[in-house]
C-alpha cells in the first residue's frame, strides 16, 4: 500500500493544488469587486443610454402623427370597446397600460385567442416594423389589423366608421382632422377613412415612450466621471450583469441601442408552442408587408415624396425562416410570459434558453452556446430588472380618457 502512495503522492498533490486554484479563480470571478470600465465598454454602455435616444422620428406617411387633437382622438378610440363585435373589446383589452401595454398572457385573448403574444406598444414609434413578423410598416397600418381580425376585435372597417359617424363627438373630431366623412358606399373612401382612424390611434401611440431607469442614471453618473462602484443606482450584481450583457452574454448583438433592440428579425431556436407548428416569422411577414395596401408605398400614405427606404430594401431569403422581431428589454417587469407565443414564462427561462442556443426547429439559430455559470445568469437577470422605468408620457395618456359620450 505505501509503495503505491509514494508514487501517486505527487500526482495527488498536483491534483489537489489544481482544484484549489480553480476554486480560488472561480471565487475571485464571482465575488471580487467589478473592475473599472474600459473605454470601449463605456462607449458600449453609453450607446444603450436613454440620453442617446434620438428625437422621435417624423412619420411623413401620417399627416396627423404629431397633432395633439389627433392623439386625444386616438386615445378615445384606443380605449373604446364599441370598436369590436361584442362591444367590449378595445385596444386596451390586450394592451393594458398597467402592464406596460401587454396583457400577462401567453397569447392575446379577446373575441378569440390571438396567434401570438401581445407585444408592448411603448417605444414602437422608433421601429420600422410592427408585429413579431414585421408584417406592418407603420403604427397606423398596424392599428387597423386587429380591428378586422376575427380572433381580436372581429369588427370591420364599415362597422368602425359607422361608430364614428354615430358618435357626435367622434364625428366632429374626425371632420376637424380629416375633412368630410366618407361615403360608406364607396370602397376607396371607406379605405381612406379607415386609414385615418389608424393614423389617429398612431398619434396617441407615438406618445408612449420609455422613461429613465436606474441603469440610465448609472450611465449618466459614469459619463459624468463618477466612480463605477461608488453610487446608489446599481448594486454589484447588477454591474456584473451589465458587464456580461455587453461582453460574454453577447446580448448587444441584437439588443442594442437606447431601446435595447435593433428592431431586426432573428431566429433563436425556440420550441413551437403546444398546438402550433413552428412560427414561420419574418419569411411570411415580409411578403405580407410588401403586399399590404396600407404600407408606406401605398395610396393611403400622406407622404408626397415617398422615400420608404426600409420597405424598398427589405430583404427576403432563407435567413428569415422562423425569425421574429427583437423586442425591447426596457420595462420587462410585469410583461411575462415572453417570446412570440409566450413560450417562456419567466426571465430565468429566457436567459437559460439563450445560454443553451438550441438548434432551430425551422430555419437557423444564429446564436451560439454561451456556457454561462449559474451566478452569471442570475446577475444578468438582476441587471435586466434595473432597466425598468416609468413611461415618459403625461399621466393622462396612461389611463382611459374621460368619457366623451
Amino acid at each position: 500500500m505505501s509503495d503505491v502512495s509514494r508514487h501517486t503522492r505527487p500526482w495527488m498533490v498536483t491534483a489537489i493544488a489544481a482544484v484549489l486554484i480553480a476554486l480560488a479563480y472561480e471565487g475571485w470571478q464571482r465575488f471580487a469587486p467589478p473592475a473599472a470600465w474600459s473605454d470601449d465598454e463605456i462607449n458600449q454602455i453609453a450607446s444603450l443610454w436613454i440620453g442617446r435616444l434620438p428625437a422621435l422620428p417624423p412619420d411623413p406617411t401620417n399627416a396627423v402623427a404629431d397633432n395633439p387633437e389627433a392623439a386625444a382622438f386616438g386615445q378615445q378610440l384606443f380605449f373604446d370597446g364599441r370598436l369590436s363585435a361584442n362591444g367590449k373589446i378595445s385596444c386596451s383589452t390586450c394592451h393594458q397600460p398597467i402592464r406596460r401595454f401587454t396583457d400577462g398572457l401567453p397569447k392575446g385573448v379577446a373575441i378569440g385567442q390571438s396567434k401570438r403574444n401581445t407585444p408592448s406598444i411603448v417605444g414602437t414609434a422608433y421601429s420600422p416594423w410592427l408585429y413579431w413578423d414585421g408584417r406592418k410598416d407603420s403604427q397606423w397600418a398596424q392599428a387597423l389589423a386587429p380591428l378586422e381580425d376575427p380572433n381580436e376585435h372581429a369588427s370591420s372597417r364599415l362597422q368602425v366608421l359607422g361608430i364614428i359617424a354615430s358618435v357626435s363627438a367622434y364625428r366632429k373630431t374626425y371632420e376637424a382632422l380629416f375633412g368630410a366623412p366618407p361615403d360608406l358606399l364607396v370602397p376607396e373612401e371607406v379605405d381612406r377613412a379607415f386609414a385615418n382612424v389608424g393614423k389617429a390611434i398612431a398619434a396617441y401611440e407615438r406618445l408612449l415612450l420609455p422613461g429613465e431607469s436606474r441603469f440610465d442614471q448609472y450611465v449618466e453618473h459614469v459619463l459624468d466621471g463618477g466612480d463605477h462602484l461608488e453610487q446608489e443606482f446599481l448594486d454589484l450584481d447588477e454591474i456584473r450583469g451589465l458587464r456580461l450583457f455587453i461582453t460574454d452574454a453577447r446580448c448587444t448583438e441584437c439588443h442594442n441601442g437606447p431601446l435595447f433592440t435593433n428592431n431586426e428579425f432573428h431566429n433563436t431556436g425556440l420550441l413551437s408552442a403546444p398546438g402550433d407548428t413552428p412560427d414561420r416569422g419574418r419569411i411570411d411577414g415580409v411578403r405580407e408587408v410588401m403586399a399590404d395596401p396600407f404600407n408606406c408605398l401605398g395610396p393611403y400614405s400622406d407622404d408626397p415624396d415617398p422615400n420608404c427606404a426600409e420597405l424598398r430594401y427589405a430583404r427576403t431569403g432563407v435567413e428569415l425562416i422562423g425569425a421574429t422581431r427583437t423586442p425591447s428589454l426596457r420595462n420587462l417587469n410585469n410583461t411575462a410570459p415572453f417570446q412570440h407565443r409566450g413560450q417562456l414564462s419567466n426571465l430565468s427561462d429566457v436567459l437559460r434558453h439563450y445560454d443553451q442556443a438550441p438548434l432551430a426547429m425551422i430555419g437557423h439559430n444564429e446564436a451560439k452556446e454561451l456556457k454561462l455559470r449559474d451566478w452569471e445568469l442570475r446577475a444578468l437577470e438582476t441587471f435586466l430588472a434595473a432597466l425598468d422605468g416609468p413611461i415618459a408620457a403625461d399621466q393622462r395618456w396612461l389611463q382611459p380618457p374621460l368619457p366623451s359620450e
Binding site: 509503495d3 503505491v4 508514487h7 501517486t8 500526482w11 495527488m12 498536483t14 491534483a15 489544481a18 482544484v19 486554484i21 480553480a22 479563480y25 458600449q44 420600422p128 448587444t252 448583438e253 441584437c254 442594442n256 441601442g257 435593433n262 428592431n263 431586426e264 428579425f265 431556436g269 420550441l271 413551437s272 403546444p274 398546438g275 402550433d276 407548428t277 413552428p278 414561420r280 419569411i283 427606404a309 426600409e310 424598398r312 430594401y313 427589405a314 430583404r315 427576403t316 431569403g317 432563407v318 435567413e319 425562416i321 438550441p358 438548434l359 426547429m361 425551422i362 430555419g363 437557423h364 444564429e366
Partner: protein, 373 residues
C-alpha cells in the same frame, strides 16, 4: 483482445519499485534511465486500462460507424442529414415531439406518443413552387417498414385509415405539420409534390413507428459488450487495481482574440485586381440600426473611372454566419465612376464584410470591404 503488444501486464507497480530501489541511484546514466522509467511507469498506468476498455472501445467504434443509408422508403438517414426524397426533389426532414422531447429531432421513428411536428426544409428550390400535400395513415398494408407506393395505392378505403390530410397547396421554403399521436403503432407518411409547370407529381412514402414497437439495435450492442467484458475478466488473472489516473486540470488562460485590423487604406482592390473601389457613407460615422446610402467610387487598375458598370452589393458578418438585414441596390449612376447605393443597414456591432460585384462589360470582379462597427 491483444491490442497492447509492447507492454506486458507484468510491467506494473511491482516492477517499478524494483527499479527505484536505493541501490540503483548514483550515476548519470541511471538518472536518465529513471526518467525513462517514469515515462514507462506512466504508460503502464494508462495502458492496462486501455486493455480493459478496448473491447468496449472496439464495439463503440463499430456502433459509431453510420448505419449507412438506413432507409424508410422515401426518408433516408445517412447519419449527418435526414433527407426525404420526393422524386428527385429533396428536403431536410425532421420530426419533433416538443412537449415530451423538447429540441430532440427524429428522422425515422417517433419514440413517444404526443403532439408531433413534421418539418421539411426544402433543399431543392422546386419544392417552393410545387403544390404539396401530406397524408398520414395507419399502416394497414401488413408490410411494415417495407410498404411502398403500390401497397398504399392498394388500400381500398384510404380515408378510413387517414389520420390527417393536408390538401395540396404551395408552401414556400419550409413545410410544417402538426399531428398528435394517441396510440403506439405503425404509420405511413405520404408526401406528394405537383410541379406547376410540368404537372408531374412526385411522391415519397415513408413508413414509421410511434413508440418503438420493435427493438432497436442498441440492446444487442450492450449485450455483446457485456458478454465480452465478462469473458475478459473471467479469463485474465486478477490484478491489484491500478492507481486511478490523476486528473490534471488545465486552467486555460483567456484567449485574446485579435480582431482583423481594418484596412487603413480607404480603397480596396478587387479579387483579380481589375478594379479599385472606395466608398463614402452618408452616415458619418457609420452607426447601427439606421438605414442609409453610400456612394461607391469605382476605378480600373489604371486609375480611370469606370462609368457604366453593373454593380451589386451584398454583405454580412462572417463570424455570425448571417447576411445584411436589407437588400441594398444601386439606385443611381452619378457619373465619373460614382454610384449611389441605397438600403445599407447594419443591425449589430462587430466585423462586417461588404461584397461589391462589378461587371463593366469587359471584366467581372468582386471586392470585399471590411468594416468594424
Amino acid at each position: 483482445m491483444d491490442c497492447v503488444p509492447a507492454f506486458s501486464p507484468g510491467g506494473t507497480a511491482r516492477g517499478d519499485d524494483e527499479l527505484a530501489e536505493p541501490g540503483h541511484r548514483g550515476n548519470l546514466r541511471q538518472k536518465s534511465g529513471r526518467r525513462h522509467r517514469r515515462l514507462a511507469r506512466i504508460a503502464r498506468m494508462i495502458l492496462p486500462h486501455a486493455r480493459r476498455l478496448s473491447p468496449l472501445i472496439g464495439l463503440a467504434l463499430l456502433a459509431a460507424f453510420p448505419c449507412n443509408a438506413l432507409a424508410h422508403g422515401g426518408v433516408v438517414d445517412d447519419g449527418d442529414l435526414c433527407v426525404i426524397n420526393i422524386g428527385y426533389l429533396k428536403a431536410h426532414f425532421k420530426i419533433y415531439v416538443p412537449e415530451q422531447r423538447q429540441h430532440q429531432d427524429y428522422c425515422e421513428d417517433i419514440p413517444v406518443r404526443g403532439e408531433s411536428v413534421f418539418v421539411m426544409e426544402y433543399l431543392h428550390d422546386g419544392l417552393s413552387e410545387a403544390e404539396i400535400d401530406f397524408r398520414i395513415i395507419r399502416n394497414v398494408t401488413g408490410k411494415g417498414r417495407f410498404a411502398n407506393i403500390e401497397d398504399v395505392t392498394a388500400i381500398e378505403d384510404l380515408e378510413s385509415v387517414t389520420l390527417r390530410y393536408e390538401s395540396p397547396k404551395v408552401v414556400p421554403d419550409v413545410f410544417t405539420m402538426l399531428q398528435p399521436f394517441d396510440e403506439d403503432g405503425e404509420y405511413i407518411g405520404i408526401v406528394s409534390a405537383r410541379q406547376m409547370d410540368t404537372q408531374k407529381v412526385y411522391t415519397a412514402v415513408f413508413p414509421f413507428e410511434v413508440g418503438y414497437t420493435g427493438i432497436g439495435y442498441w440492446p444487442w450492442f450492450l449485450a455483446a459488450a457485456t458478454l465480452l467484458q465478462l469473458s475478459y475478466w473471467l479469463l485474465s488473472r486478477r490484478r491489484a487495481p491500478q492507481t486511478p489516473i490523476s486528473i490534471v486540470l488545465l486552467l486555460a488562460g483567456a484567449l485574446l482574440s485579435t480582431d482583423a485590423f481594418a484596412d487603413d487604406a480607404e480603397s480596396w482592390v478587387s479579387d483579380a485586381g481589375y478594379f479599385t473601389v472606395s466608398f463614402q457613407s452618408e452616415l458619418q460615422p457609420l452607426a447601427i440600426n439606421k438605414i442609409h446610402g453610400w456612394v461607391l467610387h469605382v476605378e480600373n487598375s489604371g486609375g480611370e473611372a469606370i462609368v457604366d458598370a453593373t454593380i451589386s452589393v451584398e454583405g454580412g458578418m462572417p463570424e455570425h454566419n448571417h447576411g445584411l438585414p436589407t437588400a441594398p441596390e444601386v439606385t443611381a449612376v452619378l457619373g465619373d465612376g460614382r454610384y449611389r447605393v441605397e438600403g445599407m443597414r447594419f443591425h449589430m456591432r462587430g466585423y462586417w464584410e461588404i461584397r461589391v460585384s462589378i461587371d463593366d462589360g469587359a471584366q467581372r470582379d468582386s471586392v470585399t470591404i471590411p468594416l468594424h462597427l
